[in-house]
């Protein structure tokens, strides 16, 4: 831990633990490097892996990446600070990202954003003192048809309301199992970044196909008997599962 790992002023932040990057992590970082024609291409996956080990881009993580890639710490930091998903201060066990783009904001996202800040007593970019939650406003979650949207550990919590978000945070705080609308049971910020780094977990089969809103066109077509003649992807199974558009 060095001085720059210390949280900036503002809300009380959780203490920073020493880096947990060890020989095993370094072996995995090397494996990521081997997946690309040129090792440096692995830098973003490597930083995802550092997130999964330390819960943020720690100074140790920066140094290790720089040494492995034969570049300077400054070059690693340029990348770590350019991309919004990378955190330079420890994120919470669960990372809450509220979509603040115009559409979600207007459909209720702004109200939800205010309520979450009040409830957690932290502001944008901060982590609760007990290390449970970190919060950020994100620019478009790419789920406009499910607005307003909140993301937890990069999974979609669709069609949120103030009440649902309140319930969600209470459940997470109590350590209860929470399932996102279209994904697998939430396993936390660090586990999510391990998958993003390129080390898959076992949960790809969990959750829905594409979510209710995403299915509206398909269902409308089925109700009306609209099919693309000679379409290669005509259902040989499964069409009976299509419901009726509400």
């Amino acid at each position: 831990m060095t001085i720059s790992d210390t949280a900036r002023g503002g809300a009380a932040m959780p203490p920073i633990a020493a880096s947990q990057i060890d020989e095993h992590s370094i072996a995995e970082l090397r494996e990521l490097m081997s997946r690309y024609p040129e090792a440096r291409s692995a830098l973003i996956p490597m930083l995802h892996l550092v997130h999964s080990v330390d819960g943020y881009v720690s100074d140790t993580g920066v140094q290790v990446c720089a040494e492995l890639l034969g570049i300077t710490s400054a070059e690693v930091l340029e990348v770590a600070t350019f991309y919004t998903m990378f955190k330079r201060r420890p994120a919470g066990k669960h990372h809450i990202a509220v979509c603040r783009s115009a559409l979600c904001a207007v459909l209720g996202g702004d109200i939800i954003w205010d309520e979450i800040q009040k409830k957690l007593a932290i502001a944008d970019g901060e982590t609760t003192p007990n290390g449970m939650f970190s919060l950020e406003g994100m620019q478009c979650a790419a789920a406009c048809d499910f607005a307003p949207v909140v993301s937890v550990d990069w999974e979609f919590m669709d069609n949120m309301s103030v009440q649902q978000v309140t319930m969600l945070l209470d459940m997470l705080d109590a350590g209860q199992q929470v399932y996102p609308t279209r994904g697998a049971m939430l396993t936390g910020f660090r586990a999510a970044h391990r998958v993003l780094a390129g080390f898959p977990d076992e949960f790809a089969d969990a959750g829905a196909s594409a979510g209710e809103a995403s299915m509206r066109g398909v269902r409308t077509a089925a109700i009306n008997g609209w099919t693309t003649s000679a379409a290669p992807l005509q259902p040989s199974v499964g069409s009976q599962q299509l419901g009726v558009l509400r």
């Binding site: 991309y83 620019q139 790419a142 406009c144 309140t166 279209r182 993003l196 196909s209 809103a213 609209w226």
Partner: protein
């Protein structure tokens, strides 16, 4: 033949149980396109795509076959195919459902495209904020390797294809081709100067084709059914089908796959119209880099805005509708804040201009603007327009000046009153402000 109003080709299998698994995909005829592709020469294959009239499903809308021909002509050396599923244009939300429900469409399409241009290494770049989509594609690629569709002698022919799944880490500008390639090089996602174009000198200096996720996903159907079949859908300047996203103050937001050239009015009808008791105020078509439209433009066909023009509405598949409860000033301010946050900082007109515009718009939205702020905003826009490297800056300039042109009085009210006084935010919200009982709505949102 007249196509039906909705034409599920990409989305045909989305309703099936475990639609994302290889077995399900094969049940829908999956991986027959790639088998046919491998019986053709690359030139013949490009011919099929040329006949189909497929245009890249991104902002530039080049003919896909033109890009491929250029890559094929670049020689027999190392080449790369990079598939952009980053979908970070705000308002675009079609790639995530496609990747969640049918990752094998993209994987099969990737094999076809790689073979056509002579690439052996493919990178599928997915936005990191969509964890479950990353999972589904990772699993799909693993399934394809196990089935012998990838790797040495892919599909039993003497051709090696490898796919690497690459999860990004946020940032809007990655939608720009060279910025995406820079991020894949392990660098900050800023655009580079063109030429050289990626198709002659891209990733690691080698010829590289960057294709949008939906473009690639269209290939299996085109190759298995033929170019003529695909060309029957859509209009003369825009062939095939596309997945339209409809969101905002509509009854049923969602994804609707329809022929290119479908009008805004038809798409609004599929979504059940504006929410009950309200009326349309304005809409946007295609990310947020487009002007505001009103009722008068409802008959506009998308993605091109007209059935004949060659000029695309950039990314014109994503429709957002706003009703009369919405403050245009509030929306414009949010857009601007988004741009200010996502500007990569390379060009000062964009970096500084987006910040100053955000400040002025925030002041107006909060009712603490000063007389003349609207002129100041237009003046700043004038100073930015045409002076930045990539289209991001021109995007927000068009967005702000368009909004002011059509709804100037709403901006001027900001000299005295906050937007929220005229347009209370509770009225624009889609949940009941006083809703007291938490309801985990099954399927349609909520969580278990």
């Amino acid at each position: 033949m007249n196509a039906t109003p909705l034409t599920p080709i990409l989305s045909a299998s989305w309703g099936a149980p475990y639609s994302w698994r290889l077995e399900t995909y094969r049940g829908f005829g999956g991986y027959t396109g790639v088998l046919r592709a491998l019986q053709l020469t690359p030139d013949q294959l490009i011919g099929v795509v040329q006949t189909s009239g497929l245009r890249d499903r991104d902002g530039a809308r080049f003919l896909t076959s033109d890009k491929w021909s250029a890559a094929l002509d670049s020689g027999t050396g190392v080449k790369y195919l990079v598939i952009d599923c980053a979908e970070s244009e705000p308002n675009a939300c079609k790639d995530v459902p496609l990747l969640l429900a049918s990752p094998h469409l993209v994987i099969e399409g990737a094999i076809i495209a790689a073979y056509a241009i002579g690439a052996h290494q493919v990178f599928i770049c997915i936005r990191g904020e969509a964890l479950h989509a990353v999972r589904r594609v990772q699993q799909g690629v693993a399934e394809a390797y196990r089935a012998g569709y990838l790797g040495e002698r892919a599909l039993g022919v003497n051709y090696r294809i490898d796919i690497t799944v690459h999860a990004g880490a946020g940032s809007y500008i990655r939608g720009e081709e060279t910025a995406l390639l820079n991020s894949l090089l392990g660098r900050a996602g800023r655009p580079s100067s063109q030429p050289p174009y990626p198709v002659s000198s891209g990733l690691y200096g080698e010829p590289t084709v960057v294709s949008n996720c939906e473009t690639i996903a269209a290939l299996p159907a085109i190759v298995s059914q033929g170019g003529e079949w695909y060309a029957q859908f859509g209009t003369a300047n825009s062939r095939g089908t596309t997945v339209y996203s409809v969101s905002g103050h509509v009854q049923f937001p969602g994804q609707f796959e329809a022929p290119c050239g479908t009008t805004v009015r038809a798409l609004l009808e599929f979504a059940g119209g504006i929410r009950e008791g309200h009326k349309l105020k304005f809409f946007t078509a295609g990310g947020l880099s487009t002007p505001l439209f009103t009722e008068e433009q409802l008959d506009m066909p998308l993605p091109y805005g007209s059935a004949t023009t060659a000029k695309a509405v950039p990314g014109g598949n994503a429709l957002q509708f706003f009703d009369e409860t919405t403050s245009v000033l509030r929306v414009t301010r949010r857009w601007m804040e988004c741009y200010a946050a996502e500007s990569c900082g390379k060009c000062s007109p964009c970096r500084e201009g987006s910040w100053w515009l955000s400040q002025l718009l925030s002041g107006l939205a909060e009712g603490r603007g000063q007389e003349g702020d609207v002129e100041r905003i237009l003046d700043i826009c004038d100073g930015i327009s045409g002076r930045a490297f990539c289209p991001l800056a021109d995007g927000f300039v068009g967005c702000v000046t368009g909004a002011i042109r059509q709804f100037r009085s709403e901006f001027e009210v900001g000299y005295r009153r906050a937007a929220n006084e005229l347009f209370p935010e509770e009225q624009s919200a889609v949940f009941a402000w006083n809703e007291s009982v938490p309801t985990a709505k099954s399927g349609n949102g909520g969580f278990r």
